[in-house]
């Protein structure tokens, strides 16, 4: 593993972890929601960034994680930590199933992206209709703070948990990027025929990627549920999360170790600032963050086609000269 690649990320997360000591609740809420998106985006990055299989439907995994934790606790009295583990496993399983159906059918590019979107939408509609998911009125997880319940009286403690999860996936991603599996992912992204000729089992590589990706994004969903203690189908399986993880990765740099984290923080940071600034001038403007997300995506594609991480590298190299 290349320490130069993960160190800035770990430092960033350490800084975030000490912020609760000084920062206000507004900042804490901002960090919590940014890190949940960052974690979900790290999942997207493994499949979309490294393996090159673009997904428009990562809500399918996020929602599965969120619902698994909530339903297990509420309906079956299962411990929240067990719920988290089951949620991750179910997210991986949903990923594997979507992958098995679409990769076996040789779906690629925009066809694959649309199929993932369709899966997420079907799950959203089912969750909205079924009884055990609470239907349209959603699910409320009973408030009972305590480490054993994966609930924390202080926001800071939850932030530490989230930051550790993001750090763990950061290390996992860096490890993968420097091993055979990572080389196979990238080979599949760059040229499937060439990969196959060199002995890469393309189908198996993609299935592993989507299962891993689904598991990581499902973990973000689980933690979302535990943080807000409420969810419904439009939150858990909503297109908002599919879009945010995609933009975070594109903004930060797809297929880079730090890209999703940097992208998610930048995305949410600018979104929040825009809300604040406009709120001062014109009162609350609903949906302004969506406009900002769109504008950021356009700017990123136009000026940072390889993301902020590549842009930063160019900048530091330029300064060093």
């Amino acid at each position: 593993m290349n320490p130069r690649e993960v160190l800035p990320g770990l430092v960033l997360l350490a800084v975030i972890a000490v912020l609760p000591l000084v920062a206000s609740n507004v900042v804490l809420n901002f960090l919590l929601s940014s890190l949940i998106v960052a974690l979900a985006a790290q999942g997207w990055n493994l499949l979309g960034g490294y393996a090159g299989q673009l997904s428009f439907g990562h809500a399918a995994f996020f929602g599965t994680g969120a619902y698994a934790t909530a339903v297990l606790q509420i309906r079956y009295g299962v411990n929240a930590w067990v719920g988290l583990a089951v949620g991750i496993a179910l997210g991986a399983a949903v990923g594997w199933v979507i992958g098995a159906l679409s990769f076996r059918a040789r779906l690629r590019g925009s066809y694959f992206a649309l199929v993932t979107l369709a899966f997420a939408e079907v799950l959203r509609i089912l969750a909205n209709a079924a009884d055990f998911t609470g239907g349209a009125s959603g699910l409320l997880i009973r408030l009972s703070p305590g480490v054993e319940n994966l609930q924390f009286a202080s926001r800071a403690a939850f932030l530490w948990l989230l930051a550790s999860a993001v750090a763990a996936v950061l290390l996992l991603t860096a490890w993968i990027a420097h091993h055979r599996f990572g080389a196979h992912l990238v080979a599949v992204r760059e040229n499937e025929d060439a990969a196959r000729a060199l002995g890469v089992d393309v189908l198996r590589t993609k299935l592993r990627a989507i299962a891993l990706s689904g598991g990581v994004t499902a973990a973000a969903g689980c933690l979302y549920a535990q943080n807000f203690l409420y969810l419904d189908a439009n939150i858990a399986y909503g297109t908002w999360i599919s879009i945010e993880v995609l933009i975070a990765c594109v903004l930060g740099g797809t297929g880079t170790v730090l890209g999703p984290v940097v992208g998610a923080l930048a995305l949410h940071g600018v979104g929040e600032l825009a809300k604040l600034a406009l709120g001062r001038v014109a009162g609350p403007v609903p949906g302004v963050d969506l406009v900002v997300f769109g504008a950021l995506l356009i700017l990123a594609v136009a000026f940072l086609p390889r993301g902020m991480m590549a842009g930063l590298q160019r900048l530091t190299r330029g300064l060093a000269r």
Partner: protein, 249 residues
Amino acid sequence: MSLLRAEGLSRRFGGLLAVDGASLEVPEGGLIGLIGPNGAGKTTLFALLSGFLAPSAGRVEFAGADVTAEPPHRRALRGMARTFQIVQPFAGLTVRENIAVGAYLRHSARREAIRSAEAVAEEVGLGPMLDGQAAALTVAGRKRLELARALATEPRLLLLDEVLAGLNPSEVRDIIPVIRAIRERGVAILMIEHVMQAVMNLCDHVHVLAGGRMIAAGPPQAVTADPRVIEAYLGHGAAARIAAGSAHA
């Protein structure tokens, strides 16, 4: 015993029989040429041998095992490596990373894979380009990269599809010894080639494919003098005209 044995391979594309009952053998350590006019079905035959296309009929045996139904990555694991006539680099990666993908087939640890990739790069003359982007290579460089990646899988058999095409004469002269050295290490080679200088120079034995069929086989000198081969390249009656022409002279 032959390392590769193809029997009665056929492949149909709609109404076109691109390969029609072709058979060939590559002995352990041999260097065999496959020549034939454009559109003869050579590349298609390679795709059948390496598993990229399923044959409509016939079978492929590699090292004594029937591999006809095996996907390409399995055949690679058995020791069959191919290059592509239309080069297929991993364009976004460096030369080192490109070759390492091949090396990972036999070396699961990164350190060993990279070391082996670098050794292969030296062998084919890509040493100085290791850190460069694959997309920035010249045509000759890309052909070497195809060769290097395949070689990095440590194959028993290399299938080379026109690795010399598009190179200038001095580049061809540079790469011929590389191919000979690979063969001298005991790797069997089956090469599709249009550059006759190379075929004459390198091959023990040559097969000629025309219209999907094997029309001749033998030592390079004999095959290139075979009237059926001359006709396949130059058209019906060409051999007779050439013979008549030299009789007049």
